[in-house]
Symmetry: D2
Subunit: 233 residues, 4 copies
């Protein structure tokens, strides 16, 4: 099911509470999934595979080696999705004049224009192939201010499996919205990543408890192989 890596953060009271009301079994997935990859571009990984604090010297938003590990696992899952005809949808930030979602003075970027453009590219390991949708968003959630919902309804999707980053940011926001819209949501434990370890784990706990099944990669591969045979999208 999942590694329960969040338990180390629990107070005694949290442990006791979790025993009483914690989720006992997964909600389960449906028959028509889509795989949604959230914000997997160079600006959050860097162009070289380096530990986070080294990478951050060039790429301040980098997630370091943990990010790259998740990317490699995600590439495995993307392959299985494609083999089974399961739609892969890529989501990334919209580059435009839309005002940001927090009203703060933005610090001048330390990135060069060339870096900025490179940073905005989806990494080669999971980059879109012909026919795959790329959705640009200007909100944390992949659902807000985008046509993602339209596509899911049009395709008859009932289950959305999420990978990407950050666990506590755009992944969390997208998972809440997906559940809100009554899709069955899945989060692949090995395929989401964050800059803050405590946020990563507690958001996995929250999502698993309230909105989604946090599941391990092998289980999702198996699921895709199962439903893939019957998918006719």
């Amino acid at each position: 099911m999942n590694s329960k890596g969040w338990e180390v953060y629990f107070s005694e009271r949290d442990k006791q509470h979790n025993q009483l009301t914690g989720k006992k079994e997964p909600n389960g997935f449906g028959e028509c999934p889509a795989l949604v990859l959230i914000d997997i571009y160079y600006s959050v990984l860097g162009t070289n595979r380096e530990p986070i604090f080294e990478s951050m010297r060039t790429w301040p938003g980098s997630t370091g080696m943990e990010g790259w590990a998740a990317v490699d696992k995600t590439a495995e899952l993307v392959k299985v999705a494609r083999e089974n005809g399961i739609p892969v949808i890529h989501v990334k930030g919209l580059q435009s004049g839309i005002k940001p979602w927090i009203h703060r003075k933005s610090r001048p970027s330390t990135l060069s224009e060339e870096q900025r453009l490179k940073g905005y590219e989806i990494v080669d390991e999971v980059k879109p192939v012909s026919g795959e949708l790329v959705i640009e968003k200007s909100a944390p959630s992949a659902f807000q201010g985008t046509p993602l919902l339209f596509q899911l309804v049009s395709l008859g999707i009932d289950t959305v499996i999420c990978c990407g980053e950050t666990t506590s940011g755009c992944v969390r926001a997208s998972v809440v919205d997906g559940a809100t819209h009554r899709f069955r949501m899945g989060v692949v434990e090995e395929c989401v990543f964050d800059r803050t370890e405590a946020s990563h784990w507690m958001n996995l706990y929250d999502m698993n408890q309230k909105y989604a099944d946090v599941v391990q990669l092998d289980a999702v591969k198996q699921y895709f192989n199962q439903v893939g045979k019957t998918v006719t999208i």
Copy 2:
């Protein structure tokens, strides 16, 4: 600003990362705030003020004494809002046949019908007065599937201050959506509460870092007193 109670959850790496990119100063509030109270009803507090595990015997969703402490602080803030003509909007769960946002088999409720109805009432300490809007939702976020946004735009609101529960559930979801819609968001540290301590604190961290200013009660009272004079809603 806030108590930074989340720091105890940080790993060494998290501490170092937070020093590099953690939020240094608040985003700031605007000139036309509304106060939004989220899900403050008896079912999450119980009808008696008891510690959480005692209260849960009757009210499985109870937040116990921590919840009641937040309610008392919220009552103070509601008073200041009303004195200053700042709109107070109450949000609670819709009782209807809408399917829940997770597709799981619901366990039969242990509440009697009388309890269920009582549980659905907003607690006396912060209950709506004549002219205050009560919005019923069927999603975690107060913004989804409700007319809350319509009201905020109609009133020219630019800032939304949130109280209620749970920090990691409906408060978090509402704060993300409010920021998404480009409102300046505030979370009152003493006025939000949760069933899980680690979730409470890490969600405060996430919200403060990404979407809102997490602020202390006194600062919000002062803010309401300041803008109240110029509010003409």
Copy 3:
């Protein structure tokens, strides 16, 4: 298919244009429909069956005998939907403190409080039975600021058949939103009604041309009988 009652409004140019690019065949419906009844309450029909201008003396929003004719036809369709296990969803205006969608000074209502309450009731002919969802809206569209979309996704609905009023108001707005969200939309010609004849017909034309199939009652009954056998909701 439909009566094409809109053709009398066409200019010569419109006729020629319609011959070139007018819709030639229906888009078609799916396998999992819901029936949505929009704003069928006494305030738009009156409590007596009277011609529109007589009815308007008591009920300024009345649609008169044309409204009642549509209600009777709608009652027939509701019966067929129920027999086939097709979800019937009722939509009506929310009575609350939400600001109206136009910023005009509202004229004081000429209705008594008793009338106002009666006016807000769904008419007996199509009133909800146990287990049917009633959704309250504060926008023209049944989809905006309501959980309608959540319910449709949760039930796996792919087709939404609309009845009610007004053709040019809440029906039109709902049909545009349903199509926007990629549902297959149907409008039952005999079951929608309006206060303005030209608006009624031209909105039917627009909807049929752009967003929906405008179909006759018998065809929808037949459709419900067909898919009803396979619906397992």
Copy 4:
């Protein structure tokens, strides 16, 4: 106010009904407007200024000379908006793999690839200048599946003035959504256009009656000149 060009479509009953409940005075505009230009690209105008049926030989979606007349008037208004610091927002169709909003078999396009790209360009007369936002939509309404709402809230906009096409399609859908979200909506009579005359006029009537003020160009220029002095965006 407006030309009331819709009155020729009224039946005797419509005339009588309009006298009783027709809109008597405008709702009025606010202090912070934005100008939104909807779908003004070559594919709906053609690259040459020709009458509609001639233009349609090359550009099947063309609106002909009426479209061009509206474009010229819109260019005048855009100039006044820019002079007064009023935000001009351009909206056009998103070119992507998003499924269309009606589930019909699409006919193979008669446009060459070169034409298709040209058709997708906003016409020179009103094309965006540096700093103006271009929003791409995949729904009739400029508000659905786009960040338009985020931008309006972020800028504190209270009034949205619409130009473009078609009156009965994307303009109408956007106006309904803008009103739904409690913006004060304006439609510039000379600056919206359609392929069907009856649809054009009856949609202007519907919008003016229910959701917006349909106003003439000179009045909007005057309005922009008035509020422009106080706009500080």
